[in-house]
Amino acid sequence: MLRNTTTRTLAMMALSVPAILGLAGVAEAQDKFKLGMAVGGNTCCEWMKSQGDVARALAEKEGWDYVELSNNNDPATALKNAQIFVQEGVDAVIQFNGQPSSNPAISAVMKQAGVPIVTYDIADPGMYFVGIDNLAAGIAGGEGLGAIVKEKWACNPDLVISAEGAAAGIVNEWRTGGMRTGLKNVCPDIPAEKWVSFESQGDAAVGLPAARDLLAAHPDAKKIAVVGLNDGGVLALINAAEQLGRADEVIGWGQDGAFITGDNVNPHLAGSVFYFLEGYAVYAIKDVIKPIAEGKEVPLKADAGDPASKVQPCPVTAEQAKAVPDMAERVKQLLAAPAGTTEYELFCPNKG
């Protein structure tokens, strides 16, 4: 029976699929500029979805066609999406790829197809870099936390914990290392043995076990300051401290501002640095995509140190963050603002 089944299965497929295959057409002709957007697709963070919403709205305002795919936080899916964009005949692509290990392959695919690609916050030599000034953001956040540590603990914490996200590479060094530098700017005499790190992977849930282990290894630490790659990483430590009943003396300061607004801000998150991640498309479109759509040559600036477009950091205390609308409202106001207006201009309470 199995022998016949194999034969008949092949026969059924031969009668159906390949028969239609020959009729398949090629991509339809297009005249409008078409923008592709690959959102991060990590369920951790609402801003990843909002990045797509903003890009879609701005593309529609420009009268462009728009295709959106989700990288599903998976390197293979990100590469597959790059190939789908090429097949869909997009003229340019924006991506946030939280699994940047596939970026070299994506760059190769895009280069072969002649499609320019913008990447947010994680640089790749073949992609236009649009992102925050990570070092400045780190230092500003560290100095913000330093002010609180100085006021509350006279610059004498028991422990300073760094919530690292090593996969982000140099970005992690700039942000997390920058926060340490900023904290040292205010409190220069914290002894070296008080500085410890754990791998948070930039995610509150994923980093929780490592954070718990670290706290367990320092049972006597009461006054704990936390810096990190992003709000999620810092929250991993704060949540672990809450689980262990040790959260009272924890003060964290994050990066990216993902968890510092809204109704459920953790009281131990004393501040963060807004990047207004959801609004990055304003920068990407203004400085890279629109000039390309207008037929201009845009030099490839792929280095995070010399980006195609630099997003300004906005450090805020939790108190100041209360004046900043939540993400849905920010997106609404951003899309109602004149073209090219950034969220920094609209919402940052500490504009330089």
Partner: protein, 332 residues
């Protein structure tokens, strides 16, 4: 006069072969696959069946096809190998690490496959030698291999080993379709021939169907299962190498959850996780292609990929129900 007791009644006009195709172990998946293709054709349009799109689907089903074809032997012999996803992650990490250390791809690939066979051997010793439950033993290996991969990947969590020649090789197309996809299909067909037309295949299915009866018939149950577990590890190792070549890197996410993706598709394709002797590599491949087709339709219609999981879950439930309707254990 016709002897009505000699044979069961047949439907007029429907040959035995076609009835086998319509009610056999791959019947439901064949129909499901055709339905997916039809939905893609009518909903997405001709683009769905363009060579470009099939090439994209094909490219990203290469690894699951390879892994599934080999893991199917273990399932058929009555042992489930849950470590395949982690083995893919480990394999890609080791291969990328060796490349980054300056090894040539052939030597790095050989050492990687050898390492995977060693871990497959440990699975075999635990399951066949010591009689451990396959699910428990390979679950342990799943966790251990994930840890080893993370150690190899280091604190960065990824190793970049982009090699343009290797990338171009795995991206080579023949007649508009990816070469490695065609090779994976060929591998599936060879596996199907082995399973259905050779003595080895009959032995594997016999061991999975009833190991005591197989042993009484003179088949070495231990040898068959050891070989099946080694094949499963080898396939996962091969998949990891292809992944690393495709992505130009290895990362913690590589292969994560692949075991569920592959086994869900194999079950949709007619295999059983807990009952050996059931399934056909062609059914498994169609299961993977059907799921990839659904995912592609959602991509092209810009629908959230999270719906894929819902659809795969429903397809799995439908496959299980169909299996029961066909007779379940008694069917085979």
């Amino acid at each position: 006069m016709t002897d009505v007791t000699a044979a069961p009644a047949r439907r007029p006009g429907l040959s035995e072969d076609w009835r086998a195709a319509l009610t056999g172990s791959v019947a439901s998946i064949t129909l499901t696959f055709i339905v997916v293709v039809a939905i893609g054709w009518f909903w997405v349009g001709p683009k769905f069946l363009s060579f470009g799109n099939i090439s994209i689907i094909g490219t990203f089903v290469i690894v699951p096809l390879i892994v599934g074809a080999f893991a199917g032997f273990a399932l058929l012999s009555g042992v489930v190998d849950l470590s395949i996803g982690s083995m893919v992650g480990f394999s890609s990490a080791l291969f990328a690490l060796l490349l980054s250390l300056g090894w040539d791809p052939a030597s790095a690939g050989a050492v990687t496959l050898l390492a995977c066979l060693c871990f497959g051997g440990i699975n075999a010793i635990a399951i066949v030698g010591f009689g451990a439950e396959p699910i428990a033993a390979t679950l342990g290996m799943l966790v251990a291999l994930r840890g080893i991969a993370w150690v190899l990947l280091g604190s960065q969590g990824s190793i970049f080993a982009f090699n343009l020649d290797m990338f171009n090789l795995v991206s080579t197309t023949v007649g508009g379709l990816p070469l490695f996809f065609l090779l994976a299909i060929a591998l599936t067909l060879v596996a199907a021939l082995v399973v259905t037309k050779t003595r080895v295949g009959r032995h594997i299915r016999a061991v999975g169907g009833d190991d005591k009866a197989a042993a009484r018939a003179g088949i070495s149950v231990k040898k068959v299962r050891v070989a099946a577990l080694l094949l499963s590890a080898f396939g996962a190792g091969l998949g990891g190498i292809v992944y690393a070549a495709q992505l130009g890197s290895a990362a913690r996410a590589t292969g994560f959850g692949l075991e569920f993706q592959v086994y869900a598709a194999l079950m949709i394709g007619g295999y059983s996780i807990l009952r050996g002797g059931v399934g056909n590599p062609i059914g498994g491949a169609l299961g993977l292609l059907a799921v990839a087709g659904v995912s592609n339709i959602l991509d092209l219609k810009a629908i959230s990929p999270y719906f894929v999981n819902i659809i795969v879950g429903l397809l799995l439930l439908a496959a299980v129900l169909l299996d029961r309707i066909r007779g379940g254990d008694a069917y085979e």
